[in-house]
């Protein structure tokens, strides 16, 4: 059988050996915790506490504003020190709630749990929304919105995105190895919402131990199967994963639900399990702290809001001077200039590299080799789109499907002339999409 995959893609050095065998370890934050109100796509949350209030871990400190939004919870006990703009990973200053940690980690009492079989669809979705769950693979799209397609009965496939195709990242891998029952439990909750759907755990075939373990645990589950997908970046990209698993292809204007699919990342599915089966809101996530500049690369269970400095300290500090620090993976993460930023719901890794490929390689003229088009999972011609983008020729940019780009970075990675193709296309997309929104 041909392997489940997509056309295009790349095989970068994966760096996962640095941290893949390090069990998840909880990090207890010592300093202040910072909770940006916007850790998701959609309207920022609205604070429901004020300066001076005492809060407990698990207490809601900001309420969702509207449907496409998500609440935020305190993850330690302490006092609200300020509600003010603080720097976040993107380099922006974002309105945040700052909690002074009292070191007691007192937790609220969670409401009693109702078995999922006894809950209606609306009640389950409401629980997910209330728990503040968003897509934890990096996009941060509020999960309850995903769980509310127009026609739930038409959903045929729920895919747990266990691909983890980004180099260096091992957070999902550790989750799957150490808490597979939570992953399967979360998937069962989602399947409960979609009675006509089958659940698929899609794992890249560089994790045979995960595949074997999940297969063993789901042997008795009629509605759940494990799909081994080819190891290739960006296999975990939503559109590419749906195509690999179901053979259905969606363009940028479509939602997975349009082809009967729901896709959720490992940590998101686990958070759903926690929320529905244990009644706990989203308070922590797994963060891989890794890279050749880190003394002791590890996978940490991190309370949302924890400062990145504390994570580096916990990993033994720097063994070499890092030249570049990235929040997330090397392909789609954010380069950060300062470690003084908080862990958010979407932060999957903190990657510290002693060598920055980008500043080392000076862009030169395009030689038209066509490698960017070969590796592009969106099947567009990046070098052409980048030319249009650089000339502000947005008409042709759109005509030649510039908006279909998923910003995965394959074109910039492969370019022998080291041209920043992804950057050019990304910027043009932003402008064109903003213009479109204005027109509507």
């Amino acid at each position: 059988m041909a392997k489940l995959t997509f056309l295009g893609g790349i095989h970068p050095y994966d760096g996962k050996d640095l941290s893949k065998d390090k069990p998840m370890k909880e990090v207890l934050p010592k300093g202040d915790l910072v909770y940006p109100l916007s850790q998701h796509i959609g309207a920022p949350a609205v604070p429901v506490v004020k300066k001076g209030d005492r809060v407990l871990a698990g207490q809601k400190i900001a309420e969702a504003q509207g449907f496409v939004s998500a609440p935020v919870y305190a993850t330690v006990s302490g006092t609200v020190k300020a509600i003010e703009p603080r720097r976040v990973v993107t380099g922006d200053n974002a309105m945040s709630i700052v909690v002074e940690n009292d070191g007691l980690y007192e937790e609220v009492e969670y409401p009693p749990v109702v078995p999922v079989e006894k809950m209606s669809r609306e009640e389950i979705v409401a629980k997910i929304k209330e728990a503040g769950i968003v897509g934890m693979g990096g996009a941060g799209f509020p999960t309850h919105v995903k769980m509310s397609p127009k026609e739930p009965d038409k959903i045929t496939t729920v895919i747990a995105n266990c691909a983890e195709c980004e180099p260096y990242l091992t957070s999902d891998y550790r989750r799957m190895i150490e808490e597979p029952e939570k992953l399967i439990g979360g998937l069962k909750v989602i399947l409960h919402l979609f009675p006509n759907a089958k659940g698929v755990l899609a794992v890249e075939d560089n994790k045979p131990d995960c595949i074997a373990l999940l297969r063993k645990l789901t042997k008795e589950e009629e509605r759940i199967s494990v799909a081994a997908v080819k190891t290739k970046y960006p296999q975990g990209s939503e559109r590419q994963l749906i195509y690999a698993v179901t053979g259905r292809a969606i363009n940028y204007e479509m939602l997975p639900a349009d082809v009967g699919c729901i896709v959720d990342n490992v940590d998101t599915v686990v958070a759903i399990c926690r929320a529905v089966n244990e009644g706990k809101p989203l308070m922590n996530r797994i963060v891989t702290v890794t890279g050749d500049a880190v003394a002791n690369p590890q996978n940490f269970i991190v309370r949302i809001g924890t400062n990145y400095h504390e994570l580096i300290e916990e990993a033994g500090g720097f063994c070499k001077e890092p030249e570049k620090i990235i929040s997330g993976g090397p392909m789609m993460g954010f380069g950060i200039f300062d470690l003084d930023v908080p862990t958010t719901k979407t932060a999957s890794a903190l990657l510290c590299l002693t060598h920055d490929d980008v500043s080392a390689a000076e862009p030169s003229a395009c030689i038209n080799c066509g490698r960017c088009a070969e590796v592009c999972p969106g099947r567009v011609v990046p070098k052409l789109l980048a030319e249009y983008a650089e000339r502000y020729d947005f008409e042709n940019f759109e005509k030649y499907n510039g908006l279909e780009c998923c910003e995965c970075g394959c074109c910039s990675y492969i370019c022998p002339a080291k041209r920043p193709l992804t950057q050019a296309i990304k910027s043009a997309r932003k402008l064109v999409l903003a213009e479109k929104k204005k027109k509507k």
């Binding site: 195509y243 380069g335 300062d338 030169s364 038209n368 990675y413 002339a417």
Partner: protein, 313 residues
């Protein structure tokens, strides 16, 4: 702002391949043909090659120096141009022929249009065609110490028999680098294995050429046989052109379908020129005319994107 560090847009890692590495691979892949040419035609061939490469590199260097542009000779593309130009010259040419050809190729075809990536036709071939038109008798004089007879293609055209085995090995008259099919194919294998080229352009070029040349030869009243087709394929600049010049990134279409269209078109033109043209050869003209059509071919063969039918092809 305790520890300001480098930031950039994603992705933060880059593959190891560079333009210079690709160009060096092409130079290495041309070595078998180059060495055979020197062995076949003697040390004078080496002199012509040296003059040609020195001219192209120096032209690029001086142009950039005078125009106060960044020096780009380190990408080795001028070396490739110089080498290809020399391999397309008869060994008997005077020293100033590679100089004029090299200056034309780099200055007019490449640098004046914006340098690497902007040239609208293959610089080496454009240089050769310029020389062919300007100095036809020098450029078609294939007599030298080693060979006094006609080139195999001229012989076939005159209706004479040729030794296909000699053509495959390369013991025939011709330009410095074109005679040995084996040496060129070894180089082509290097390029294919290194992932620098694939068979889309050369494959469709050679296959369509075989079909068209058989068709046109029949139309013009020849008896077409397997040795005739083999001699047409092995003769002249076809092999060198198909694997090393039609595959030039800058001047071939970037789209997959376009590459097939381009290859077939080159096969057609080459067959037309060889059968109906004034000269026995036609590869160089076919490729530079094909180069001119590349923007059109690309426009007409833009791929469908993912989610709109392009996910399977």
């Amino acid at each position: 702002m305790s520890d300001l560090r480098k930031v950039s847009s994603n992705p933060h890692i880059r593959a190891k391949d560079t333009t210079a590495k690709i160009m060096l691979t092409v130079v290495v892949a041309l070595l078998p043909a180059t060495l055979f040419g020197i062995y076949n035609f003697g040390l004078r061939a080496l002199l012509i090659i040296a003059i040609s490469v020195a001219t192209t590199v120096l032209t690029e260097y001086l142009f950039e120096k005078i125009c106060k542009k960044k020096n780009t000779t380190g990408d080795f593309s001028a070396v490739v141009t110089g080498l290809l130009l020399a391999l397309n010259l008869p060994v008997s040419v005077p020293w100033w022929i590679p100089v004029i050809g090299g200056v034309f190729a780099i200055l007019v075809v490449k640098m004046l249009f914006g340098g690497l990536g902007q040239n609208f036709m293959n610089p080496a071939l454009a240089g050769r065609c310029f020389l062919l038109l300007s100095f036809p008798s020098i450029m078609t004089n294939f007599e030298c110490d080693a060979y006094t007879g006609a080139t195999p293609l001229a012989a076939i055209r005159a209706g004479e028999g040729v030794m296909v085995r000699d053509m495959i090995i390369g013991r025939t008259a011709g330009t410095i680098g074109e005679t040995s099919m084996i040496a060129i194919v070894i180089g082509a294998c290097i390029l294919i294995l290194a992932g620098v080229i694939d068979l889309k352009v050369p494959g469709s070029y050679l296959a369509s050429f075989a079909v068209f040349v058989a068709l046109f030869a029949t139309l013009s009243g020849r008896t077409v046989s397997a040795p005739y087709i083999s001699a047409q394929l092995a003769g002249g600049g076809l092999m060198l052109g198909a694997f090393f010049m039609a595959t030039d990134y800058v001047t071939r279409p970037v789209t997959k379908k376009g590459q097939y269209v381009f290859g077939i078109f080159l096969g057609f033109l080459t067959a037309v020129f060889r059968i109906f043209g004034a000269s026995a050869e036609g590869v160089s003209y076919a490729i530079i005319i094909g180069n001119l059509l590349v923007p059109l071919i690309e426009k007409a063969t833009m791929p469908k994107c993912f989610g709109r039918g392009g996910e399977r092809s």
